[in-house]
Amino acid sequence: MAYQRVVITGIGVISPIASGKDEFWKELLAGKSGVRPVQSFDSTAYAAHIGGEVPGFDPSAHVKKLPFDSMGRASQLAIGAARMALLDSGIDLDSIAPRRAGVAMGTTSGEPIYVEQYNDISKASSPADVPAEVFARYPCHVMPAHVASEFGLHGSASMIPNACAAGNFAIGHAFDLLRTGRADFMVAGGADAFSRIPYLGFARLGAIAPVKCQPFDKNRKGMVPAEGAGMLTLETLQQAKARGAKIYAEILGYGVTCDAHHMTSAHSQGEGGVRAMVAAMKEAGVNTADIGYISAHGTGTPTNDRIESIAAHTLFGERAPLVPMSSIKSMLGHTMGAASAIEAIACALAVQTGWIPPTINHEEPDPDCGLDIVPNVCRKVDPRVVLNNAYAFGGNNACLCVGRYE
């Protein structure tokens, strides 16, 4: 008996452009931008002023069992997206054997709001005045703990905070648990809340675009920090069929590598990125000719997009310009630990509907990229197998291979 097949049966998303699967997909294909002037803190003193914040998020509408104000925004976003995914999946959790349903999550910053509070109060008065719970609510393992507690998931509960590739790592981990029979049902994805801490860091690196995010454009000027949550329900094909669940897509495999080269910059030839794609395709049992679409990491920084293009050319050779590769960060900004989870959702919907989302804000092709980035307008290409690329601080590369369920 081989490994079990693993399928996506529920989708939940909260993002700067829209929340909820249907609205999200509609706006994504329409090329809507969620990038606006930063609202949640005063950006006057920073070298940048735009971000992708989730407008009008009401945590009390999403967090129902736990006290919504007992946790940070990243946990609230994660619970909100998880609730949508669970509803969408139609699962009756009581029908799953106890301890066979779990949660796997990713994040970049966890709950940085509590670090901000600590410093704000320390600055205004003294650390002695900091509310007792602040650092108890900070460590990022609280996010899966909150999701598990809100929904009564008693199985494996993990946080894999591998920065901007974390969502792919979390989905991959859930895939591993399911295909080896260690779980029957997993809620998996990533979440990050808008915070001045990463914003400050990216601003000081000079990485934030002044006006808009233009991945792969000749005149691209940087990335745009953003927030959001993408959560999926994954289960074995056997179980999904047995309960008559709708199936969006199949997880075919993933590959993870490390450049071991530089903390903030990828290897100049995309060496680790290529290895991750190769490993993902090998695990999936597919080859480059099968790949119908690539969801790019595509942050919009000059370096990332150049290196990612080199990696695509290295792997696909002459076929590289024929494989559409778009970046939805052009619309959402970079939702950090949620990014590759939300992009995995876009991949699942792409293989299910046949449509692929565009790279918006495209004005002038960059000869250094030389790829079909699906400029400005979505397209119907009916991809059968797609790759979801994610690169992260620490030189981490994670590629998820998603296929049409057949």
Partner: protein, 409 residues
């Protein structure tokens, strides 16, 4: 784990071929072992915590392990992780040529709880007090939670998977299990697996408000008068590989990593005094190991002195082992190390290996009686058997257990 699925897969044996450790009682396996078996405690008034009790390593010079190049930028926790990793790499002949590219089949899984919270807080503090324009962009990479593992990859040229795992006090065991599966899947050949934690004022504050800190600083796991724990720090890393890889390169397997159990009580951020999740984690680990509870010869406990957490663990052990629990030797090493959070599960695993090798458990430092019915001792306890159980139960409701076996062909 349904046996039909488990038994049908390509199932190489996962072995430990070496370890590295830095802790409050000793650095390097030899010193660590000597101190542990002598019943030494590393818990004392910590200067960095304003005199509060902690298993604080104090000042240490990383140069003997890491040299001088590129070390200045590494924060305390990252240095600890890099040092333990260096030891494990050296012992297993996997140190990479500094001038080379590194090995694409060599990677890392590292558990942590608070990660680089001190670096993160300091980074934001400069931004808020001196202003954004005076923050060093060089410090930014240290603020992502996976920075220590990423830095270790650069330092030691680890080019396979590089993953950080945050499951509270269970992190170290989750990291080991993740690594074991990556090896079973053939995604890497050699994986460092373990955990890291640093003592700092921010995590200590969090720690005390989780209700974990002992007001007296007297850490007595399972002790009748237990009243809490003290934060600890350090790093413990195992080198894991398959039996075939190890033997193929002339390495002697020391221990075998068998079954793992992990799950959440899902009651919010708390221990579950009814111990359902902890009991299930141990049972799951035994089931995946395909052994009965009778085979377990010793237990390395998670107990850290927390009144509720220790009671929960004792209950779980009674649930699994029944009356036999009063005869199984148990050691609670956090009496010596403090609660080293993301590192503690990995330290416990390393200790379990040492104990299997000696067929003797180290003492539980300062032990003077328990109301739990468990067999602890302030002296080393001899035993005869092949299998050790390691527990790592977290204050957030996550529970992990691991079974390892003394190597037999």
């Amino acid at each position: 784990m349904p046996v039909s699925v488990w038994g049908a897969m390509n199932n190489p044996r996962i072995v430990v071929t070496g370890a590295g450790v830095i802790s409050a009682i000793g650095t390097g396996l030899a010193d660590f072992t000597t101190a542990l078996w002598a019943g030494k405690s590393g818990i004392a008034a910590s200067e960095r915590l304003g005199g509060s009790a902690a298993g604080d390593i104090g000042d240490f010079n990383p140069a003997p392990w890491l040299g001088n190049k590129g070390v200045r930028i590494l924060d305390r926790g990252t240095r600890l992780l890099c040092i333990a990793s260096q030891m494990a790499l050296a012992e297993t002949r996997l140190l990479q040529d500094p001038a080379g590219n590194g090995d694409p089949d060599l990677g890392m899984f590292s558990g942590t709880m608070f990660g680089g919270i001190h670096s993160i807080t300091a980074f934001d503090w400069v931004g808020q007090t001196d202003g954004p324009s005076l923050v060093s962009p060089m410090e930014f990479p240290n603020t992502v939670i996976n920075a220590p593992a990423g830095q270790a990859a650069i330092k030691h040229k680890l080019r396979a998977v590089n993953s950080t795992v945050c499951c509270g006090l269970s992190s170290g065991l989750y990291a080991i299990d993740n690594a074991a599966w990556f090896l079973r899947f053939g995604r890497a050949k050699y994986l460092l697996a373990g955990g890291m934690e640093e003592v700092c004022e921010e995590s200590a504050l969090g720690f005390s408000t989780m209700g974990l800190a002992s007001p007296t600083g007297n850490v007595q796991p399972f002790g009748t008068a237990r009243n809490g724990t003290a934060p600890g720090e350090g790093s413990a890393m195992w080198m894991l590989e398959t039996e075939e890889t190890a033997k193929g390169r002339g390495m002697l397997p020391l221990f075998e990593v068998l079954g793992f159990g992990g799950g959440h009580d899902a009651l919010g951020l708390t221990y579950n005094r009814h111990a359902e999740g902890a009991t299930a984690a141990i049972q799951q680990a035994l089931e995946m190991s395909a052994i009965s509870a009778d085979a377990i010869a010793c237990v390395i406990a998670s107990a850290n002195g927390s009144p509720v957490g220790d009671e929960m663990e004792a209950r779980a052990l009674r649930n699994v082992f029944g009356d036999r629990i009063s005869t199984i030797p148990v050691c609670a090493p956090k009496a010596s190390l403090g609660e080293a959070m993301g590192a503690s599960g990995a330290m416990a695993a390393v200790i379990a290996g040492l104990a299997l090798d000696k067929q003797e458990l180290p003492p539980t430092a300062g032990f003077s009686g328990t109301d739990t019915g468990l067999r602890l001792s302030a002296m080393p306890q001899a035993f005869a058997g092949e299998y050790a159980l390691i527990n790592a139960f977290s204050c957030d409701g996550n529970n992990a257990a691991l079974v390892i076996r003394k190597w037999t062909n």
